[in-house]
């Protein structure tokens, strides 16, 4: 600060005349939020979730399964490899069921404990947290960052900013690279990078996802949750009065005021809130939880940690800000009563549906036959008379071997007495390939009446001994 002369003018604030209409823009410049660091239970849980999700995300593409990458979503050849499982476009139903399970899980968590996903597992929060950590290591905590951003550009500031952004960018590029590694074999991708001959598309996607990480976690941060995210909107709609939310116990806290630790709050008629604003400073979305539940709140619990640490210092009981429910606050329920209310019909129905869906998915994956068969009767050939006074029908059979070994398939047919297979009875299909073969059926002329007769093909895989049945029609000419 420069020394001020005593002749400085005193400014008189202008008060708006309510009779004069004010014109204000409906859009505001974004106010950057500087969350303060805090330690505590929920902060630790957040870090646990970050480690779990990120070890999975960055680690999985490097796992090998035999000769190939364990998890590879190969869009070019329409094959999803997931450990021992190979999924084809025909297996879309599994993707649908997995999405339904994910949705039900989201409903369940939200009904029980609010925007838990947002606070603890959403990539947006997780990466924002990681980026904030980097920011804090380089620039210092909230107060230091505020000072740095307000100061003039010095060499020191430039160096700090450059260091922060280079760490951010390298982390983002690694994230983009990892993300692409789920769709293209990551080891080959690594080789291409090292030898500097990435294809244009690979370069584009790495840069695209890298930039998305950098922009979202570095700059947009909580604005995604506030203005863009659709989950945020419909999660808020799934709250009820028994949903666990971050609450401020107004009855206990008000009237708020700063005080010395020696003052007995009870006697002076003060509430427990000392108005230190710690809960506001740690909030990653920049709200004041003491105003009640707001749509910006992502249930991360950092203000709970902050307030508890202050309560400990003041030697007041913890829990002025705590995870609780609207009902618990209004009816003064104990923790046990809150827990009891968790098992309400809504939660039970979500849980039931979730278990049902998961069980169905597991069952169908376990009983999945690793090959697919389609039979189409030749349209060009109705039926034909062949040597030996027999009538013949021809079929095109497409056998898709969805396993990763060469497989021989045995074909037999049933449905009409005296019907026989006139073509080869066995076909070999290479691993993860599909083959169209001709199959012909014969029956003695005149042994059945003319018209269509249903027949059933049975296809058995020699290796796994699993079978499929496929219906078709045998046409008898007049």
């Amino acid at each position: 600060m420069s020394t001020q002369k005593s002749t400085s003018k005193k400014t008189i604030p202008i008060v708006n005349d309510p009779a004069q209409p004010v014109t204000r823009s409906l859009y505001e410049p974004h106010q950057k939020i500087y969350p303060r660091n805090i330690s505590g239970l929920y902060k630790n849980w957040r870090w646990v979730m970050i480690w779990i999700t990120q070890i999975v995300f960055y680690g999985v593409p490097w796992l090998q399964w035999g000769e190939r990458q364990a998890v590879l979503l190969d869009i070019g050849t329409h094959r999803f490899y997931i450990f021992g499982l190979v999924l084809y476009p025909q297996d879309l139903i599994y993707l649908v069921v997995i999405l339904i399970i994910a949705a039900l899980a989201l409903f369940l968590f939200t009904a029980v404990a609010g925007r838990l996903w947002c606070g603890f597992a959403c990539p947006q929060s997780v990466y924002t947290k990681i980026f904030l950590w980097v920011e804090r290591q380089v620039e210092g905590d909230r107060a230091a960052r505020l000072r740095l951003d307000a100061s003039k550009l010095t060499r020191n500031k430039l160096l700090k900013k450059m260091l922060k952004h280079s760490i951010w960018i390298s982390f983002s590029v690694w994230t983009g690279f990892t993300f692409l590694g789920y769709f293209a074999p990551i080891r080959d991708l690594m080789q291409s990078i090292l030898q500097l001959h990435l294809s244009p598309w690979e370069t584009f996607w790495i840069c695209f996802y890298g930039f998305a990480t950098y922009g979202n976690a570095g700059f947009l941060r909580e604005q995604i949750c506030k203005h863009m995210c659709p989950y945020a909107r419909f999660q808020s709609a799934m709250f009820d009065n028994d949903t666990l939310i971050v609450t401020y116990d107004e009855e206990r806290g008000e009237p708020r005021s700063g005080r010395s630790r020696k003052v007995d709050a009870k006697q002076s008629g003060l509430g427990d809130c000392i108005d230190c604003n710690f809960c506001v400073q740690v909030c990653p979305t920049g709200i004041d939880i003491r105003n009640g539940l707001q749509y910006e709140c992502i249930s991360c619990g950092l203000c709970v940690d902050a307030c508890n640490s202050i309560m400990d210092k003041m030697e007041y009981p913890r829990g002025l800000i705590r995870f609780s429910t609207q009902n618990a606050l209004t009816h003064h329920w104990s923790q046990e009563q809150v827990v009891k209310k968790v098992l309400r019909p809504r939660v039970l129905i979500y849980t039931g549906l979730l278990l049902l869906m998961s069980a169905g998915l597991v069952y169908s994956l376990v009983t999945r036959v690793p090959f697919k068969v389609d039979v189409i009767r030749d349209r060009g050939v109705m039926s034909r008379i062949v040597a030996g006074g027999k009538v013949e029908n021809v079929y095109q059979m497409q056998i898709t071997n969805a396993s990763e070994q060469v497989e021989t398939f045995k074909i037999s047919v049933s449905g009409i007495e005296g019907l026989s297979l006139a073509s080869a009875k066995e076909f070999t299909v290479n691993a993860a390939e599909s083959r169209m073969v001709a199959v012909s059926l014969q029956i003695a002329d005149g042994s059945i009446k003319s018209g269509s007769h249903p027949v059933i093909f049975e296809i058995v895989a020699n290796g796994s001994n699993e079978r499929l049945f496929e219906k078709s029609i045998f046409y008898m000419s007049r």
Partner: protein, 300 residues
């Protein structure tokens, strides 16, 4: 390019498209100012259903910029790509060009595979399992509709698995057949043969050639009338592959066996067509496909 019925419609569409963008921008700018005295985070004083209060929570400014950028993007897009009536866009992009480009890219990618097969003889290609897998797919997708999935054919569509060839079964001949197609033409012969009785006699003679069921007396009468047929089918009825005339002495009846079918054929003639595939398949594909077909009648 799009075929509009008059000059009016392209302008009509363009006006709607450009007007839409201009309207969106105008609307954005016109509504970006509020005359509400409420500050950020305060109530605007509007209350609905007794207890729902409208708060003033402005959007961040960059949100408005994104809207503007979207409009700018739209303008750039409409300059580069077709979208305004008959205007074809600066880049000259069309769906057809893109399709042709993609086909070309795919063909370039598989060219080396085919190049290997083209340098081999048909017999060698028929020994190559990879080539036969390609041939199998080509046949199933392009030939099985008429000749049947098992290539045994049906009435009017020749069986490709036997040794009885209308035009010859050498690899080169099959290639020729696939590339340019064939036209099996038999004129109505009733007039050349004589009356209905003569036609019946000739039919019985033809039946006798393959030892099918016939009346010997009629066949004997028909023998001299067969001269009219011999021009194509040969004096002994063994056919002529040079002009695709079928062999009448074997057991293969492409258009139906028996007296009635033969009489019908003599009276009405026939025009049977195998369509040319040269424009649909590349010479390299036909080379492999012909080897696949050749293999049917030349067992491994």
């Amino acid at each position: 390019m799009s075929d509009f019925t008059s000059d009016f419609w392209p302008y009509f569409i363009s006006a709607i498209v450009i007007g839409g963008i201009v309207f969106c921008l105008t609307l954005l700018l016109a509504t970006s100012k509020s005359h509400d005295p409420a500050h950020t985070g305060e109530s605007t004083g509007h209350v609905y259903d007794e207890d729902i209060i409208e708060m003033n929570n402005p959007m961040p400014r960059w949100w408005m910029w994104m809207f503007i950028i979207t409009c700018v993007f739209g303008a750039i897009y409409l300059f580069l790509f077709p979208g305004l009536g008959t205007y074809t866009g600066k880049l000259g992009w069309t769906a057809l060009k893109q399709y042709e480009q993609e086909v070309k890219e795919t063909n370039d990618r598989i060219a080396p595979i085919y190049a290997k097969f083209t340098s081999m003889s048909g017999e060698e290609v028929a020994q190559d399992p990879k080539a036969m897998a390609i041939g199998e797919r080509l046949f199933m997708n392009n030939c099985s509709q008429c000749h049947g999935s098992d290539a045994h054919g049906s009435r009017g569509f020749p069986n490709l698995t036997d040794t009885d060839w209308l035009h010859g079964g050498a690899h080169e001949t099959i290639k020729e057949t696939i590339t340019n197609g064939r036209n099996g033409m038999m004129p109505p012969m009733a007039a050349a043969v004589g009356g209905p009785e003569d036609v019946k006699n000739v039919a019985h003679y033809v039946l006798s050639l393959s030892n099918s069921e016939h009346e010997a007396s009629r066949a004997a009468l028909g023998k001299e009338k067969f001269v009219a047929c011999a021009a194509c089918h040969g004096p002994d009825g063994k056919g002529n592959q040079a002009i695709g005339a079928p062999n009448l002495t074997d057991d293969t009846w492409l258009h139906g066996a028996g007296e009635a079918a033969i009489i019908h054929r003599i009276n009405n003639g026939l025009n049977n067509k195998m369509p040319a595939q040269g424009s649909r398949l590349t010479p390299e594909q036909i080379h492999v496909l012909a080897a696949y077909v050749w293999r049917f009648s030349n067992a491994k």
